[in-house]
């Protein structure tokens, strides 16, 4: 197979995987660099955000609202640990010591748990309120339409 034929085959074969764009590639590259530069923090964050990562994997909602809810609280939970890392011993052993401290882990994961509690309670509560409001609106519309008929007659429904 000549070189030209190979090139032609490459051009005609459709790509089976979505390739990252150049902007994404640059972003990924910088993230990797930053993660590598701040490796101790990266270790703490990765361990601390485990509940969020798990939620993100299991959250099938396209808006990823569960991930956002849990993640927000989870981030708040790892911030004290990060402060401690930066203030006391910013090193890999320091990071390992922090993530080995069960109190710290409890704090981080408790925050994520609160996120889950919020998600599981606020969502149905709001949903119910909206459902009730919709039923109420339907009744209001029916009442208003009846009133319009009373004032303008049945013809108002036909618009003539």
């Amino acid at each position: 197979m000549s070189e030209n034929q190979q090139q032609q085959q490459q051009q005609t074969t459709p790509p089976t995987e979505k390739k990252l764009g150049w902007k994404a590639k640059i972003l990924l590259f910088f993230t990797m660099v930053v993660a590598f530069v701040f490796l101790p923090a990266t270790i703490v964050v990765l361990v601390g955000l485990l509940p969020t990562i798990v939620t993100a994997i299991t959250d099938r909602n396209p808006s990823k609202s569960a991930t956002v809810t849990v993640g927000s609280m989870n981030v708040a939970g790892i911030v004290p640990a990060l402060f401690r890392l930066f203030q006391q011993n910013y090193s890999i052993p320091g990071a390992v010591a922090i993530i080995s401290d069960y109190t710290t882990v409890i704090v981080m994961y408790s925050a994520a748990l609160i996120g889950i509690v919020i998600y599981n309670n606020v969502t149905p509560l709001v949903s119910l309120a909206i459902y009730r409001r919709a039923r109420l609106r339907l009744r209001e519309i029916e009442k208003r339409q009846k009133m319009l008929k009373d004032v303008w007659g049945e013809d108002v429904a036909q618009g003539r």
Partner: protein, 694 residues
């Protein structure tokens, strides 16, 4: 001779006035026409009555003056538009009109027009046309009859009026011995020339039916005066005992002058006058100026009477030998199918060309035949052909179509009579649609400005006939051509409605009996009557009155009567107002807004008893309300549609998603709450951390 004796004379066959089974009994109680005038229905005056109106004795209550009242119906249209002009002719030689107004005639349960005149001081010069009397000498005749009659005709000419009823039986003897004067009788109770026996009309007019002669001219009045003078001169009617056709035949054969005066000598002075006014050629006939010149002593030397040219050989038709084209027209119309046959096989054309030797008639005849064929030889061809051929043979003669014989200017009054008597209206519609008047005018030797107006008038009539909506059709033609015709609506059959206030008052009367109330107030007749009598009123309401929607028609009626009440200041019409108020419900229901409907209905109930139709119309047809209601309804309908859309959308969502309807929003709110709490915590930690460092 007293009135009763004259009445007995008048009862001779052929001359008796119209008899009616519903004549008032002889002991009928007097009727008060006004506070001053009393009519005695039990005292019918046959010698003053005619086929169109009955005369009854009357008197002035104040001074006891003897009067008589002509009680006129609708079939023979009284000359109401000439009443003012008649009153303006102020001369002792004319019977004075004392009062004219509509009254309820209980014997026929109808309104009639009463025309009250002074009672003639003496009997008529001749009680009927068969009667004989002492001949009157020339000079006496000129002094007693001719001079006052000419004066009347001069005054009438100045008032733009024609008498149309000058005859020996309508000129009365008046004055004292040695100071006698002839008094000319009334002429307003029937159309011009309607009451004239054939002998008093010029040949061309005498061939028309009485109701179809139309308004004559001063020359026609002078012709009638000439015939009157001739009869009084001879002391009898030389044509007495002859039928109408025979009278016309005699005049055609010998000329009017010879037919009425015979071969006996007449004084030179009167001969000149009689030859002038009795000329059978309308162009040669004297007018009032000629007569005045003659009276002043100037000699006008009228031409010898022009007798119609006799054919070299007679034309045989229906077993008769006919020598004159004019006489032939009278026969042709009596047997249309045979007439059409002799025309179609050119017998008539050959006779005209070879025996009559009149190229003008021949040319007209050919044109008439050609134009009749233009409409095809189908239905109505024979009638069309014969009518046109008769016009061609004798252009001055009336239009003879089917059973009518009318001059163009008399079609209106003839149509009014036909309507009132329930005749064949279609014949008149056909006459107009076939453009027979145009053809008639096109063959006249003289085209006047009046002819142009006639063409335009009948063009308008054809336009009216083409339109079928209320306010048009043959009814519109009637009121357009006969501006004196009272409204012939079946609703108003017991009323004499000649003006718009009359119409309002008639409906006020009708309203008093619920069973008499018609379904539709403004029917075709009334709409047409209003369209002609007051265009402004109808132009704005024609679409309402002609609508298929009953509520629109009722609204149209209200607006029309309100306009009449406002413009003519008729005063309150409570009966009509209540009636219209009661039928306004469907009109009020045209408003969409229920509270507004109720408000309007309440106002109607309040106003309808006051008789104020103007106010009622303002309530029902308030432009502001109508507009606000329309706009409001549009907005409401739009809102309703939007709500329906929203309801459908929301109901579908609720049905499909149930309680999960707000799940997405709930998730988003959870995320937001979580984000806010997290932000506050982080911010708090940063602040605490920062503070602890200080």
């Amino acid at each position: 001779m007293d009135s009763e004796a004259i009445g007995q004379e008048m009862k001779k066959p052929g001359l008796a006035p119209d008899t009616d089974a519903r004549l008032p009994p002889r002991d009928a109680a007097p009727l008060n026409l006004t506070e001053k005038i009393q009519i005695f229905p039990g005292q019918r005056l046959d010698h003053l009555s005619h086929a169109g109106a009955s005369a009854y004795a009357a008197r002035n209550i104040d001074d006891g003056k003897s009067l008589f009242a002509m009680i006129c119906g609708k079939a023979v249209v009284p000359r109401i538009n000439s009443i003012a002009n008649y009153k303006g002719v102020n001369t002792p030689g004319l019977l004075q009109l004392v009062e004219s107004r509509v009254l309820y005639w209980p014997f026929e349960n109808q309104q009639k027009l009463a025309l009250v005149y002074e009672m003639p001081p003496g009997p008529p010069f001749m009680v009927n046309l068969e009667a004989e009397r002492e001949p009157i000498a020339d000079e006496t005749l000129i002094r007693i009859v001719l001079n006052p009659m000419v004066e009347i005709l001069r005054l009438m000419r100045n008032s733009d009026m024609v008498h149309g009823a000058i005859r020996t039986t309508n000129i009365f003897q008046g004055g004292s011995a040695g100071n006698e004067i002839a008094i000319l009788g009334e002429c307003l109770s029937a159309p011009s020339s309607y009451t004239q026996p054939v002998v008093f009309e010029p040949i061309e007019r005498s061939m028309a039916q009485p109701s179809g002669r139309g308004l004559g001219t001063g020359e026609d009045d002078l012709y009638a005066l000439g015939i009157t003078i001739a009869m009084l001169l001879r002391g009898r009617n030389l044509l007495a005992g002859l039928s109408d056709d025979e009278v016309i035949g005699e005049k055609i054969e010998h000329g009017s002058y010879v037919a009425l005066l015979g071969n006996e000598r007449v004084s030179a002075k009167l001969t000149e006058f009689l030859r002038g006014v009795l000329s059978d050629d309308p162009q040669q006939r004297w007018d009032i100026e000629d007569v005045q010149k003659w009276m002043e002593g100037r000699h006008l030397n009228p031409k010898q009477p022009k007798i119609e040219r006799k054919a070299a050989r007679p034309f045989e038709f229906g077993g008769e030998k006919i020598w004159h084209a004019r006489a032939l027209t009278m026969k042709l119309t009596k047997n249309t199918s045979i007439a059409a046959q002799v025309i179609d096989d050119s017998q008539l054309s050959q006779w005209v060309r070879r025996s009559l030797e009149n190229p003008a008639i021949y040319k007209r005849l050919e044109w008439a035949i050609e134009s009749a064929k233009e409409g095809g030889a189908g239905t109505g061809y024979q009638q069309r052909l014969v009518t046109r051929v008769c016009i061609a043979l004798d252009p001055a003669s009336p239009l003879r179509y089917k059973d009518i014989s009318v001059l163009p200017r008399g079609i209106g009054t003839a149509l009014a009579e036909c309507f009132a008597k329930g005749g064949e209206i279609k014949t008149y519609a056909d006459t107009i649609n076939l453009q027979l008047v145009n053809f008639w005018l096109s063959v006249q030797s003289e085209i006047s400005g009046d002819s142009v107006a006639l063409v335009s008038q009948f063009d308008n009539c054809r336009g009216f006939l083409r339109q079928s909506m209320s306010g048009y059709g043959i009814e519109r033609v009637l009121y357009f051509l006969c501006d004196e015709a009272p409204c012939m609506s079946p609703t108003l059959q017991n009323f004499f409605v000649a003006t718009l206030p009359d119409l309002a008052f008639a409906f006020e009367k009708i309203s008093q009996s619920e069973s008499a109330r018609p379904e539709t107030l403004i029917d075709r007749h009334i709409a047409a009557f209003l369209s002609v009598r007051d265009k402004k009123i109808m132009n704005q309401k024609a679409s309402l009155v002609g609508s298929d929607d009953k509520s629109a028609r009722n609204l149209g009626a209200l607006l029309i009567f309100a306009e009449i009440q406002k413009r003519h200041r008729t005063g309150p019409l409570p009966g009509l107002s209540r009636w219209i108020g009661d039928i306004m419900k469907p009109v009020v229901e045209r408003y969409h807004n229920r509270p507004l409907r109720e408000k309007i209905q309440r106002e109607i109930e309040k106003v309808k008893n006051t008789g104020d139709l103007v106010m009622l119309a303002a309530i029902v047809d308030n432009t502001q309300n109508v507009r606000a209601d329309g706009d409001g309804f549009s907005i409401a309908a739009h809102e309703y549609a939007m709500l329906s859309q929203e309801h459908a959308h929301l109901a579908q969502k609720v049905q499909m998603q149930g309680r999960k309807i707000g799940l997405k929003a709930g998730q988003e709110i959870s995320a937001a709450i979580s984000g806010i709490i997290s932000g506050v915590i982080i911010l708090g930690l940063i602040v605490v951390n920062f503070m602890s460092r200080l």
